[in-house]
């Protein structure tokens, strides 16, 4: 027996706001959250801009001692998870705590703490390294901390699939609830890798734009795009079986109706240019959904030359001529790329699209590229009621992950 799976709450911390609602309002206004890097001096770096989270106070979400020994990436997850639980009205108690799972992944983990302690190791020696460094830097610390902070004791897993992490976490949680392994789940992703090593590493790999103008740096699908902009933050959703949601009178915001994931088996950073495996992932996600139902595609749309062209090719190969009449947009034009959090935040965006009938734009879209010739909802949000949407995420290592969501009825 399988269950219908619904979203009943979500929370977010992003470069455009420290709640899901604030982020959404800024997205539909076409606002950019990208600025010159402030958390370290980027003078010596080829890359000067990023989508940093602003004014985040961890102590608003956890006690000061927990905040001190929790890396920024896990702090974001705690904040997003607590918002999501509050939004859904889920009460964790002795009756249900073992029936709820947590799947909060991270693409990178606690690189802030790691870089700080490597510096201590090199300057003061091994006896001065903090005993907290291992729990602070390991990628599962986010999901572990969320468990401690919420009292949830069911299935607990941190997924790592690069920039697909958030989508895979929601997708696996969806499968587990669907098949009755758990009644509900907190699922999402988190990352905070805007650090000297993180920025230098992505820059050296040629993945980041060197455009020093923060407002125009991220321009997915535009002919002048030349790399992504790093972002940070977290998105966490509450998923639960429809029965459980109805039983406890939870707000039903959207239904998840499909998830597909494949890999390229090709290259550690480049996508397969034909988009063949991405097509298969979309097809898997739409196993129980008609292709003609899809009214919006939330693109991975990183603003790199390779991704945006191969993603466009995959959409066209999947939907044929209909691809030209489906609005496709990339919120990374405004948020930058939140890495492991991106897919989760974008799942929340999909819920909002279904709830509010507004499609967020792809900003900085000015010059068209013959390889990118779809309707990217350029520069301005669009009012459009849609019933079924998909969200694409692709990641270094050849991950292709796709979620399908539908308006609940």
């Amino acid at each position: 027996m399988t269950h219908r799976v619904v979203v009943t709450g979500y929370g977010a911390v992003s470069p455009l706001g420290n709640t899901a609602d604030e982020t959404w309002q800024n997205l539909i206004a076409g606002t950019s959250g990208i600025e010159t890097i402030k958390c370290f001096d980027p003078s010596d770096f080829s890359v000067k801009v990023a989508g940093e989270v602003k004014g985040f106070d961890p102590v608003a979400f956890m006690d000061p001692r927990t905040a001190k020994y929790t890396d920024r990436f896990a702090q974001f997850a705690i904040a997003a998870a607590k918002q999501a639980i509050e939004h859904s009205g889920l009460v964790v108690d002795d009756e249900n705590r073992y029936e709820i799972g947590i799947l909060v992944g991270s693409g990178i983990g606690g690189t802030h703490s790691m870089e700080e302690q490597v510096s201590v190791l090199n300057s003061r020696g091994p006896m001065r390294v903090s005993p907290f460094i291992v729990p602070m830097m390991i990628a599962d610390n986010a999901t572990g901390r969320v468990s401690i902070e919420t009292g949830i004791r069911g299935f607990n897993l941190s997924l790592v699939s690069a920039c697909s992490t958030g989508t895979d976490a929601v997708g696996i949680a969806y499968k587990m609830v669907k098949h009755g392994e758990i009644k509900a789940a907190l699922a999402g992703g988190t990352d905070a890798a805007i650090t000297p090593l993180g920025v230098a590493g992505f820059a050296q790999a040629g993945a980041l734009t060197r455009n020093p103008d923060p407002k125009t740096a991220s321009r997915p699908f535009d002919a002048r795009r030349d790399g992504f902009v790093m972002g940070e933050g977290s998105g966490v959703l509450v998923l639960e079986s429809l029965d459980y949601a109805l039983e406890r009178g939870a707000p039903i915001l959207a239904e998840i109706v499909g998830y597909g994931a494949t890999s390229d088996a090709f290259h550690i950073t480049q996508p397969l240019s034909s988009g063949e495996s991405a097509v298969r992932a979309i097809q898997m996600a739409l196993k129980e959904v008609g292709f003609e139902e899809i009214g919006y595609i939330n693109a991975h749309g990183t603003s790199t030359k390779l991704n945006d062209a191969s993603e466009t090719r995959a959409i066209k190969n999947t939907f044929g001529k209909r691809a030209y009449s489906i609005p496709v947009s990339s919120v990374k034009s405004m948020l930058g790329h939140m890495l492991g959090a991106a897919g989760a935040l974008e799942s929340i965006v999909c819920c909002k699209v279904l709830e509010e009938g507004i499609i967020p734009p792809t900003i900085n879209f000015e010059s068209s590229d013959p390889e990118c010739d779809l309707d990217y909802v350029p520069n301005h949000a669009r009012k459009l009621n849609v019933d079924t949407v998909i969200s694409n995420s692709f990641g270094f290592g050849g991950h292709n992950s796709v979620l399908a969501l539908r308006r609940y009825s």
Binding site: R65, A67, Y69
Partner: protein, 127 residues
């Protein structure tokens, strides 16, 4: 370092003027080599540094948000102050910074109360 800089910097200037620079430079070097413990012992002997107060500061640094009133000599680290084995190691690192002494994990592990650690620090400082 701060003490040495503050005390010796103005001294340096005067010494040059008095033409005593070479011989006193030797004394300064000796002071720089052994300055930190000497100065600290001096400060402790004069009573300028209250060990319990300094330890309290280190405990607060390791446990932000802690109620300072709970840090009494009788308070236990693991029970009353809600610390764990990791934060005890973090505390020993903070004490190294505060007192310039090394407290091996195994020595610290034998002690359960704030008062016992204060006594250990006193004995290490030869007070």
């Amino acid at each position: 370092m701060v003490f040495r800089t503050l005390i010796l910097a103005p001294l340096n200037k005067d010494l040059q003027r008095l033409d005593l620079f070479p011989s006193l430079l030797y004394i300064i070097t000796i002071l720089q080599l052994f300055g930190t413990p000497c100065l600290q012992n001096f400060i402790f002997k004069e009573g300028a540094m209250d060990i319990h107060a300094e330890l309290k500061k280190a405990i607060c640094k390791v446990n932000p948000g802690i109620n300072e009133e709970n840090i009494t000599p009788e308070a236990t680290f693991i029970g009353d102050l809600e610390m764990d084995s990791l934060s005890m190691v973090e505390l020993s690192l903070a004490m190294e910074d505060s007192f310039g002494i090394t407290l091996p994990d195994e020595e610290l592990a034998k002690l359960t109360t704030v008062g016992e650690v204060t006594e250990l620090i006193e004995s290490k400082l030869g007070k």
